[in-house]
């Protein structure tokens, strides 16, 4: 079957999709977006978390056909998504993202190093994960970033218990979570500081 949907603000068309294929498979193997990770294929680990019409979901449990006509944001689009939210004063609907026009005009920005990613614009939560040491092997990171970013959108000043609750569907085996908490606290604090400055 053919599935038409929007990924990171860009219209996508996936052809020859089997009925049994998951959104995760289509993203990774058909659309060249391997950022979302497959670590359990049964909705237990959260590594494949994406936003579907703004709602965080395990993309391994979403049948590709279910996303027909809908909007998906993956870790690859997180920076742009956060930027749009910043510029448009929040985006609880999840409908923001790169516009089709903007996506068509997209080109690599000068000064970016294609090998290291140096110079790439990051979402605040992405920068905070790097700065706080919340990334080790990094396999859980894409899913955690999408989930944490969504939580901060809803709840800009979370308590530790709020953070733990929001991220309880995302397994990490390397860090013991302490530095992930640090990263989310850091992103929240920076967000707050920025809010005060404005």
């Amino acid at each position: 079957m053919r599935v038409n949907f929007t990924v990171n603000g860009r219209r996508q068309e996936a052809d020859d999709v089997w009925e049994g294929e998951s959104l995760l498979y289509v993203l990774r193997e058909r659309l060249g977006l391997p950022g979302s990770k497959n670590a359990c294929e049964q909705g237990e680990c959260g590594s494949c978390t994406v936003r579907l019409d703004g709602v965080p979901v395990c993309s391994c449990l979403v049948a590709a056909g279910q996303v027909e006509g809908r909007d998906v944001v993956t870790v690859e689009g997180l920076a742009e998504y956060a930027k749009q939210r910043e510029e448009h004063g929040g985006c609880a609907s999840g409908a923001c993202g790169t516009s089709l026009d903007a996506a068509k005009k997209w080109e690599a920005k000068p000064g970016q190093d294609s090998q290291t990613g140096e110079g790439v614009e990051l979402a605040p939560i992405q920068q905070a994960f790097i700065d706080a040491g919340a990334v080790q092997c990094g396999f859980c990171t894409p899913g955690l970033l999408v989930a944490a970013d969504e939580m901060l959108e809803r709840n800009p000043s979370p308590t530790d218990a709020d953070i733990r609750e929001a991220l309880s569907g995302n397994l990490c085996r390397c860090t013991g979570y302490e530095k992930i908490l640090d990263a989310v606290r850091l992103a929240a604090a920076r967000q707050e500081r920025q809010g005060e400055a404005v």
Binding site: E118, V120, I130, D131, N170, L171, Y177
Partner: protein
């Protein structure tokens, strides 16, 4: 497709007046792969892609022990989209592989020895087609009796898991179903026992733990025009893989070119081969690139686990709290194939006394061959099981003597100069008593944290959490302590080395160092510290980390807490040689301009040649101009010795690491639910090369120990030897809600034998975390609890 070269800029650009090189050893520089990992660009082994690639799928045995009567692949072969269906008959060369014992079949022939053993292989154009084709392969089994424990393994008429053994341990073991046996005798335990006022005996059971790295086994094999294969995989040791893969493909090693793909965690589970040979066989057979990715279910069968163990301990102590003697027997279940069982046995035996002074000991450790899942390396490697048991013994002894458990441990704590049961002196700092003091001195976390101002309880702070099972009724707090000892590096006479190739040149007027090693970056942050070491030694800002591959000499394994010590040491050593060469060029060019070139000790700092007094003599750019200096050297730690097979004596270990924990738990005694409130750790790290990474390692290791304490166990049905819970639904690892605050207090007492004084840090916290949590639960409930994990039924008496 392959991982990209990463350049690592840090800090401000070098200025003319700047003397110090930023981002060197001791600073919390950030990961060079961080940006790629947070943007989804980092290429893990499961992200590899190649035009026209096929998908490989393994068919695994559905029974644990059976003769293979027949295999019929015809229906699978006839399916559309299927390119190959292979069995052992199609293998091109050697049919067995293994790290220490070549006992593991690439594909089962004759018989299968455990549940989930690979029997046949499919390549197809879609992973689902490959799975369906594999399901169409018909295998007829004739089941054999099962060996599942020590009793069945050593019974007089026991069937042999491996007949006609001819390995380096088969000559000395008392039974062919014993992989390796290591006794250790020191002093006279029977005589010393007479001095004891109390004697405590205990029997302990340690469950089978899974590494549960998040990135399942995966990789891509690409057939090459020269008849060889290019292999992109996630592994802990490229060169060890290579040595095992090439003979099975019938290829010389130079025709198997391995490149490290991104690794989604390892923890020991990637030391052994998984899909490497199988994907290569399919690629060579079909002439097409073949990708293989295990799902989580298959991953539980795709790697070895932590050995489950039975441990029998006897300790004695005098009234004033001095340990008199120790006797123990440790039985490790190695499962169907040896993997690293023999080394785990050596570790368990030599570290079975723990970080204590006991002069009179009798120790025996054995590793069994059974039809259970194969077990091998996992973080802590034999020392974890022993620590769980001897720490339980320490608490029992303290209780019998009516002493404080920390004080009792401190009285008996080893220190620098203590002699190990193997006769080896501990010749660098061993601050065991101090680590215990530090965790004990921490303020206690506040009680009843679930209470909120005016509102109802915050159930998230209670055992049972959001299941809302308690509002504080029946909840009891407990506190427990534990400390452990782990060896660092490869032991028992192994020729353990690493190799570093360092290149220094001037690019765009800036000196740049390139570090090329085969070190497996599995998440631990080796790539971060490699750049730090190069900056410190060579005084450059720009360091490029070359992708790890087999075009450079072996780095050894990313395990045993050894990489910062070993590949860090190799980089330091190669950098020192590069530095000397740079200085030599400088002396030739500029020596006549300044006497210091000949007389002063010269360093490279901030992009310049400086004297130890801080005077700048020349820029590195002016010294080198268009010349490049390149050095590739092997580097070794001090040699070790094998343990004597009768007495266990020998200087077997390179270095020891120590960590202590204090666990604070709250237990819902009615439902048997445990919430760990805080798990504080103190550890000697020798030198924190990157403090941020050090703390991250300690917290991660601590959490894996917590998992074993309260939830993690692969359950193997003793009647069928089949794995009952191969999924994240049924095998639980700690979530962020299960994991408490982990305050870390680290000491930096340099080991004079190690580069920068470093001490391997990754493993020690995994040892003491488990017994500390167990001790805290015992403290809360008064129950004896001699088994991991502690499940609710063990606490409510409904077992």
């Amino acid at each position: 497709m392959a991982q990209n070269t990463r350049t690592v800029p840090v800090g401000t650009p070098t200025e003319v007046t700047q003397n110090h090189t930023k981002g060197g050893v001791g600073e919390s520089t950030l990961r060079p792969d961080g940006t790629l990992k947070v943007t989804g660009e980092f290429a893990y082994s499961s992200d590899m892609w190649h035009e026209d690639m096929l998908w490989g799928q393994i068919l695994r045995s559905t029974v644990a022990h059976a003769e293979i009567v027949s295999i019929d692949t015809s229906e699978a072969l006839s399916m559309d989209g299927v390119y190959a269906v292979l069995t052992h008959e199609d293998l091109p060369a050697a049919k067995n592989y293994g790290m220490e014992f070549q006992d593991t079949p690439v594909l089962a022939y004759g018989k299968v020895r455990h549940h989930g053993e690979p029997v046949a292989l499919v390549a197809a154009d879609h992973p689902e087609t490959a799975r369906r084709a594999a399901a169409k392969i018909k295998i007829e089994y004739k089941e054999l009796p099962l060996i599942t424990d020590e009793a069945s393994a050593l019974a007089p008429d026991a069937i042999l898991v491996h007949e006609n053994r001819d390995d380096h341990h088969s000559g000395h073991v008392p039974h062919p179903n014993i992989v390796h046996r290591q006794p250790i005798f020191r002093g006279n335990a029977d005589e010393a026992a007479k001095k004891a006022d109390v004697i405590v005996k205990g029997e302990y059971t340690f469950g089978m733990q899974d590494q549960a790295f998040l990135g399942p086994e995966s990789g891509l094999a690409v057939p090459a025009e020269d008849g060889g294969v290019d292999l992109y995989v996630a592994t802990q040791w490229l060169h060890s893989d290579l040595k095992q893969i090439a003979p099975c493909l019938g290829l010389p090693e130079e025709k198997v070119r391995m490149t490290m793909a991104g690794v989604g965690g390892a923890f020991g589970g990637r030391e052994d081969i998984s899909m490497q040979i199988l994907a290569s066989v399919l690629a060579l057979r079909t002439g097409k690139p073949v990708k293989m990715v295990y799902n989580r279910y298959e991953s539980f069968f795709g790697h070895v686990h932590r050995h489950p163990a039975k441990l029998y301990y006897e300790h004695g102590a005098t009234k004033d709290g001095k340990l008199t003697h120790m006797k123990c027997k440790i039985v490790l279940d190695g499962g169907a194939y040896a993997s690293s069982t023999a080394s785990v046995v050596g570790n368990a035996a030599s570290l079975s006394v723990g970080p204590y002074v006991i002069d009179d000991v009798e120790i025996e450790a054995v590793g069994l061959y059974t039809n259970n899942p194969p077990c091998g390396a996992m973080r802590g490697f034999g020392a974890v099981q022993a620590c769980f048991a001897y720490e339980a013994q320490m608490d029992k002894l303290a209780a019998r003597l009516d002493m404080d458990p920390v004080e009792f441990r401190q009285i008996n704590a080893m220190e620098q100069g203590t002699i190990m049961p193997t006769g080896q002196p501990v010749d660098s700092p061993a601050p065991v008593a101090e680590l215990l003091r530090r965790v004990k001195a921490r303020p206690m976390p506040p009680e009843r944290q679930w209470e909120t101002a005016g509102e109802g309880p915050d159930v998230r702070a209670l055992p049972g959490g959001l299941s809302n099972t308690s509002h504080g009724e029946g909840v009891v707090r407990g506190v427990g302590y534990a400390v452990g000892i782990k060896n660092v590096g490869f032991s028992e006479g192994f020729d353990d080395y690493s190799t570093a190739k360092i290149r220094m040149e001037v690019i765009n007027g800036e000196p740049v160092a390139t570090v090329h090693t085969a070190m497996a970056e599995v998440g631990q942050g080796g790539v971060t510290i490699h750049a730090q070491i190069a900056r410190t030694e060579l005084g450059v800002q720009q360091v490029t980390i070359h992708p790890a591959d087999t075009q450079v000499g072996s780095a050894g394994s990313t395990s045993a807490g050894r990489q910062t010590y070993m590949t860090g040491g190799a980089i330091k050593n190669s950098c020192e040689i590069v530095r000397e060469k740079v200085l030599e060029i400088g002396r030739r060019k500029f020596g006549s301009y300044h006497p210091a070139w000949a007389t002063a000790e010269l360093l490279l700092e901030g992009g310049k040649v400086v004297t130890d007094g801080g005077e700048a003599l020349a820029t590195i750019a002016d010294v080198l101009e268009d010349q490049a200096v390149e050095v590739e050297e092997e580097w070794r730690h001090r040699p070790t010795q094998a343990f004597d097979l009768v007495t266990g004596q020998g200087n077997g270990h390179v270095q020891y690491a120590f960590a202590a924990h204090r666990a604070v738990v709250e237990v819902d005694t009615e439902l048997g639910l445990v919430k760990v409130i805080e798990l504080a750790c103190a550890q000697d790290v020798g030198k924190a090369v990157n403090p941020l990474s050090v703390v991250g390692q300690i917290q991660g290791g601590t959490t894996q120990g917590l998992g074993v304490a309260v939830m993690e166990e692969i359950i193997v049905d003793p009647k069928t030897a089949k794995v009952k819970n191969p999924s994240f639904t049924d095998y639980l690892i700690p979530t962020i809600l299960d994991t408490p605050t982990i305050p870390v207090d680290y000491l930096e007492l340099a080991d004079p034998n190690a580069p920068y004084g470093v001490r391997g840090i990754g493993e020690a916290p995994t040892l003491s975390s488990t017994p500390a949590v167990l001790a805290a639960i015992r403290n809360a409930t008064g129950l004896e609890l001699n088994k991991t994990p502690v499940r609710p039924e063990a606490l409510t008496g409904t077992l």
